[in-house]
């Protein structure tokens, strides 16, 4: 069997493409969690982004409106979460679950009229360079702008957290809201901003799925990716660069599963489909076993409400 070197390039590129929504949603959630807020509503925000992006694209015909609209939808739905957890001081876990249930319901309700409508072609960049360089060509070129943004995002996020003043404030709020508050930082405001930012990134991740990755609307099309994104944040021990690695592993599992089915590996398809979920559990176990390391890297106030009495 002759393996075309460009074919390998294409497989790597498809792994990267399936990693994109995970990277986007995880990097967004990472910022939220770094500020001390655990938002379990990623799956819900993602699916809202998916339907909003697809619906806006179909109705307005504008890809730009659709992409930004999906992010805005993510922001809007996460505002509910922010208001409840920050202003009304509700439990983060329960509120996040409500957000996911609500999001799946609302998206299916809106999406009813968009089932079966074909998507639009999303423009790709540097298409012409794809065939010039073997192997690297298909990996580096011919992708959507969202793809490039996703792969830059972990580095931007890392820089933001480590080198900028606002990043430092976010970390301070997550590690010790009391002292941050005593320093005159508005903890609630910072957390609001981080939650809304997480919503925007989840919305973008959803829009990538429904507009670029598989351009159509299918109910429940996020299929647990939001939850895997949450697991990736733990996997990364809150380090954005490691999200990149984790997302590639999971992207790889998804793609390999398709190829194994295609070449007729005699493993029931359900077992292959279950692989990413099982691997998530195994990875979580391996990472969490070292409880000291987890304790050191987890934002200290993660999931705990902060209320300033005045």
């Amino acid at each position: 069997m002759i393996i075309d070197i460009n074919f390998i390039g294409l497989i790597i590129a498809s792994i990267m493409a399936s990693a994109v929504p995970l990277i986007l949603a995880s990097c967004g959630e990472l910022i939220t969690e770094r500020s001390g807020v655990l938002n379990l509503g990623v799956e819900g925000m993602m699916i809202i982004g998916a339907i909003s992006g697809f619906a806006l694209m179909t109705v307005t015909g504008s890809l730009i409106i659709a992409i930004f609209g999906a992010m805005l939808a993510g922001v809007l739905i996460s505002t509910i979460f922010a208001f409840l957890t920050q202003t009304l001081i509700t439990n983060h876990v329960a509120t996040g679950l409500a957000l996911t249930i609500f999001g799946i319901g609302i998206s299916a309700m809106i999406g009813k009229n968009f089932v079966g409508i074909p998507g639009k072609e999303f423009p790709v960049l540097f298409e012409g360079l794809k065939d010039i360089i073997p192997l690297l060509g298909p990996i580096l070129f011919g992708h959507s702008i969202v793809f490039y943004f996703a792969f830059a995002l972990p580095f931007i996020t890392s820089y933001f957290l480590k080198k900028t003043k606002i990043g430092l404030i976010v970390r301070a709020v997550g590690d010790s809201p009391e002292s941050a508050s005593n320093q005159g930082i508005n903890v609630r405001l910072v957390r609001y901003a981080c939650i809304l930012y997480g919503g925007a990134m989840s919305g973008l991740a959803g829009a990538y799925l429904s507009m670029i990755y598989t351009p159509q609307w299918i109910e429940n099309m996020t299929g647990g990716r939001g939850w895997i994104a949450l697991a990736l944040v733990v996997f990364s021990t809150w380090n954005p660069i490691k999200i990149l690695i984790g997302a590639m592993i999971f992207g790889g599992l998804t793609i390999i599963q398709f190829h194994m089915q295609a070449i007729g590996v005699r493993i029931p398809v359900q077992f292959l489909t279950a692989l990413p979920y099982v691997v998530t559990i195994i990875v979580l176990v391996v990472i969490s076993r070292d409880s000291r390391k987890i304790r050191l890297s987890t934002p200290s106030s993660l999931g705990k409400s902060f209320h300033k009495d005045n």
Partner: protein, 354 residues
């Protein structure tokens, strides 16, 4: 002028009043959504909440749907009270159904009084086995139980799918994704001629009584409550934290497994692809709406069961998408959590004078 004042201690009256307030607010918001969608709000709400349970058959359907919700929510209340976030009851339900269905299939051409108890027990054990995974990983490997229990939901549904399509599919079933029909001895008896409500409801009621007894009359219940308030205090008091975590997960898994048994040995009588319309997730809302109190959970399961029926009725009569049910469920939880604010804070209306 409105002023918000912190209460000296949470108000107990409001603790049981806020669920009612949450339901009311959900109805208002629901009416608003129907209005935006272009329906007459009151008519839509009537089709959603009153028409489905207006006759005997409807009421039986209500109890049929409330049964698994109540059973699972009771189990979850053990976890939630002690601060364990088991959100994978849907998976435990599915796995319980798989194990009990497998046992029922072993007996498929046999009759006998002993079959049903074995089938029921198998379901509870299946649910416990599946719930023990997140519990053991949490206690011995420090792994987050939320994510593990959730991932296992997807895995359980895929296992079920594999079984009913593959090795367990009915040999005379024309390749439909379902197993053989269980023998009559493996089915929970129906309670009334022509209605689908079955003996599973007694399992739910038994769970209510037992949980009430455990919560309020035993040392274990007390320990759970203390651990829920403060793990530090529990440790200081010398409670065995790890045992407790595993125990509450097992109880919760057993309840979810029993709910699974009810779904497959009740009206359906076989395993197939979709045995539960997300009862395991909805039961989380039921548990909170019922304030983790056994009696509260009975009421909450009835209220939330209506959203399932209402969604079906509204879809048939008004072409309102059936997912409205989920939207309502999400809203109930939102409003409930939001109105909890009143537990800790008083809103005072102060006159214009200073």
């Amino acid at each position: 002028m409105i002023k918000i004042v912190k209460r000296d201690q949470p108000s107990r009256a409001i603790f049981f009043f806020t669920p009612v307030l949450a339901i009311f607010l959900t109805l208002v918001a629901g009416g608003l959504i129907f209005f935006i969608l272009g329906f007459k709000p009151f008519e839509a709400l009537k089709f959603f909440f009153i028409v489905p349970i207006a006759d005997k058959y409807g009421f039986s359907e209500l109890l049929l749907k409330a049964t698994p919700l109540c059973l699972i929510a009771i189990g979850l209340s053990f976890c939630f009270k002690s601060n364990n976030w088991n959100i994978g009851a849907e998976g435990q339900l599915t796995f319980g159904a798989i194990v009990s269905g497998g046992v029922a299939l072993l007996f498929y051409e046999q009759e006998g009084f002993y079959i049903l108890p074995i089938v029921i027990l198998a379901g509870a054990i299946g649910g416990m086995m599946y719930a023990s995974i997140p519990a053991i990983l949490k206690t011995y490997f420090n792994t987050n139980e939320i994510l593990v229990s959730l991932m296992l939901v997807y895995v359980s549904k895929l296992i079920l799918d594999y079984l009913v399509v593959g090795p367990w599919s009915n040999p005379e079933g024309f390749n439909f994704p379902e197993t053989r029909q269980f023998s009559d001895s493996a089915k929970l008896p129906l309670l009334f001629e022509g209605l689908r409500i079955h003996a599973g409801i007694f399992l739910a009621l038994a769970a209510v009584v037992i949980s009430w007894f455990v919560f309020y009359k035993t040392y274990l219940g007390f320990q759970m409550k203390v651990s829920g308030f403060s793990l530090k205090t529990a440790k200081y008091a010398g409670y065995k934290g790890k045992k407790m975590i595993i125990l509450v997960f097992l109880i919760s898994g057993a309840c979810a497994g029993l709910a699974g048994v009810g779904e497959i040995t009740g009206p359906i009588g076989q395993l197939h692809r979709e045995i539960s319309p997300d009862y395991g997730f909805t039961a989380i809302i039921v548990a909170f709406l019922g304030r983790l109190h056994p009696v509260g959970i009975i009421f909450a399961s009835l209220v939330v069961a209506i959203t399932y029926l209402g969604a079906e009725t509204a879809q048939i009569f008004m072409q309102i998408p059936k997912y409205t049910g989920q939207v309502f469920q999400g809203m109930i939880l939102f409003f409930l959590l939001a109105s909890d604010y009143l537990l800790f804070f008083k809103i005072k209306f102060i006159g214009s004078k200073k």
